[in-house]
């Protein structure tokens, strides 16, 4: 056995034995590249995801809701930082990843390219978007790469608050005036399908599925997770008193699952391609925030350097 084969064999046995790979372990180049791509995309999603909800902080209807929303948006920043830190353990720098995002070379979740038109959207994002994210993320807590799994464990604990505050917000609206109920229903109508698309293309078209499964990065297929989310969410919608905008949605006793209608994958591909309602705005805002903050980063470094050379008396 040549040395590379021995390393590959050791890696394979570690992963298949449900042990974790740690930063200084040998790993196949493609495993490293896949993780960098996935973790970076995930980190970018958290950071870009601050924008749609941040849009409503100044207009939250009460101090309670404003404090909650600020804590949630702050959490998204924190989640982005956990994930960038995990990606950095693979030998890439934070600046490199941000640069790839800003040049459109790395993606973030398409869901954040939809606008938040009303206050009820904040609730729909918490309930549906964060609910879908949690469904995707819980299996990642057992991902074969240690730093990513640890970041996900922390994130999942915190996301639970995000989903519950969204549900509570919508529940308050849907049990309020007729206008409030209509606002909640409208938000659910707009966010339902994009939330289902968060699980990615159907299994038959999923580009990296099989290999990621063998590497224990991904443990369930896109369609499995999508079905799981639908099954959990439909009974919750009944408690909320809102309908889901799918005439084909119904319980299938034979399968033990809800059947649901076909997703508009043309829309999905258009948003991924950059032609969603807010793609340009989201990226432009991110780039501006980064560039306008450059002087702060430089000043902090200059100050630290000065202190190092002239220790306080």
């Amino acid at each position: 056995m040549d040395p590379t084969e021995a390393l590959e064999e050791h890696f394979r046995r570690t992963v298949e034995g449900e042990q974790r790979i740690e930063p200084r372990d040998w790993m196949p180049d493609a495993y490293r590249a896949t993780l960098v791509r996935q973790i970076a995309q995930h980190a970018h999603s958290e950071i870009i995801g601050m924008q749609p909800e941040g849009n409503w902080i100044t207009r939250a209807p009460s101090l309670r809701r404003k404090a909650i929303l600020m804590a949630k948006v702050q959490d998204e920043a924190g989640h982005g930082l956990y994930l960038y830190a995990a990606a950095e353990t693979l030998g890439t720098s934070r600046d490199q990843l941000l640069d790839l995002l800003h040049r459109g070379r790395q993606k973030y979740s398409s869901i954040f390219n939809y606008p938040t038109l009303t206050w009820a959207d904040v609730g729909a994002i918490g309930w549906l978007v964060d609910g879908a994210a949690i469904t995707n993320q819980i299996p990642l807590c057992r991902c074969s790469y240690g730093p990513y799994a640890r970041a996900m464990t922390r994130i999942c604990k915190e996301e639970s608050f995000h989903q519950r505050q969204g549900f509570e917000l919508l529940h308050t609206l849907s049990h309020g005036t007729a206008a409030q109920l209509a606002m909640a229903q409208d938000a659910v109508n707009r966010w339902w399908w994009p939330s289902l698309m968060m699980f990615g293309p159907p299994d038959a078209e999923s580009a990296h599925g099989a290999r990621s499964a063998a590497w224990r990065i991904k443990r369930h297929s896109n369609d499995e997770l999508r079905q799981r989310f639908v099954d959990m969410t439909v009974p919750q919608s009944e408690v909320l008193g809102v309908s889901l905008p799918d005439p084909e949605l119904r319980w299938n006793a034979e399968r033990g699952h809800y059947d649901f209608g076909a997703l508009d994958w043309e829309e999905f591909r258009a948003v991924v391609r950059g032609d969603g309602p807010c793609n340009r705005q989201r990226l432009a805002h991110r780039v501006a925030a980064h560039e306008e903050g450059a002087w702060v980063r430089e000043a902090a470094l200059a100050y630290a350097e000065k202190r190092r050379r002239e220790p306080a008396a």
Binding site: D25, Q74, R297, Y303, E305, R307
Partner: protein, 96 residues
């Protein structure tokens, strides 16, 4: 200071409460130690997870290879007599 102008990397260790040791929580970037402590607080203890934080420049850490096959840990592998269960004690002996 990194040549790219990126803030240096710090490893963060958090003591969750009195009586426990500091445990590695993750890493952050900061220009200096004071900022590293503040950033670590904001990133890793937003829900009262900590009563004390250490930050260490990542470049100051020397690490062994985590690979379990590493001969570094071999000296411990064959010394079962370091464990209490190695010894045969008559059943009737109490409190030992």
């Amino acid at each position: 200071m990194s040549s790219s102008g990126e803030w240096p990397l710090w490893e963060v260790f958090v003591r969750s409460r009195r009586g426990l040791s500091h445990t590695h929580a993750g890493s952050i970037h900061a220009a200096d130690a004071t900022m590293a402590l503040r950033n670590a607080r904001d990133v890793y203890t937003r829900r009262g997870e900590g009563s004390s934080i250490w930050v260490v420049p990542a470049s100051a850490i020397t690490a062994s290879s985590p690979d379990e096959k590493d001969p570094f840990f071999d000296p411990a592998a064959d010394k079962v007599y370091r464990h209490p269960t190695f010894y045969d004690i008559p059943d009737e002996v109490r409190n030992l």
